[in-house]
Symmetry: C2
Subunit: 150 residues, 2 copies
Amino acid sequence: MSDTCTLSRLDALLGRLKAQGLRLTPQRVAIVRELVTRCDHPTVEQLHKAILTAFPTTSLATVYKTIHLLKEQGEVLELGFGELGSRYDGRRPEPHPHLICTRCGAISDPPAACAELNELAERLAGQSGFSISAHRFDLFGLCPSCRAPR
Amino acid sequence: MSDTCTLSRLDALLGRLKAQGLRLTPQRVAIVRELVTRCDHPTVEQLHKAILTAFPTTSLATVYKTIHLLKEQGEVLELGFGELGSRYDGRRPEPHPHLICTRCGAISDPPAACAELNELAERLAGQSGFSISAHRFDLFGLCPSCRAPR
DNA sequence: ATTAGTGCAAAACGTTTGCAACATT
DNA sequence: AATGTTGCAAACGTTTTGCACTAAT
């Protein structure tokens, strides 16, 4: 679950935070690690629960504040849909597609990277006079296990 | 602001609702018209305010209920981002890209239709074993007037 | 010693719901 | 007359905020 690439991103990210004079409190480190390590795009509630096992007094507010911080730094992607309870992607902060299962709620990343997306974004931007700084491509449907007859 | 195409969609939509035994109350008609007519992707609050001028007693709850109804029927697209206050597109309920200005909040539709999106969605779906039923492509950046130096 | 961060409780926000009164069919 | 719809107010769940306390530097 914690490959070398993920761990080096964790270190680099913590270093970037420290370099800005931000304090690396145990809670903060735990939240960041959780965010960078997990690939299930957790909710704030799920992150909080996970942190509690190691730091039982951690408050929800702290989780929210830390996420807010990381969002500002562009280190985390917020995936909010119409519904309540945003989910977060701290593994790959650059825009990339997401596959959302409308039955079980699972969110996964597509197996292959997708270069066309940026091109497409640029082209649409050019036609409209917008200058694009980010984009989102979300695909809704049934994941393989929810498709399967049971 | 109300071209022929938009108006015929309005009629068709109202017909579809009536055909299901739903009642065409004045409030409902007003909300639907507003939703189909406007191209600025309004919030619930904005819709409510617009309805109030003709029907001063209309409640927010009624606006929410009507939108919920239309969403269920696939007649309206809900555009929720991380932030609060979803916005709605009742002109083109089929998935299409949206350009969101991160400075002034304007949401606009790209000038040209974009066929590649569906292809791309299908391809990613195939690679991942998902069966896609809907998708969303949102582009964030600065609109032409917010880009312009003042 | 400083000063940023924590944790609690309360507030804010958009949205949903229950229900009695009402209006469309 | 029957029943779907309205409008109010209260409830909901998530997220934000204020502030005294704590801990990292």
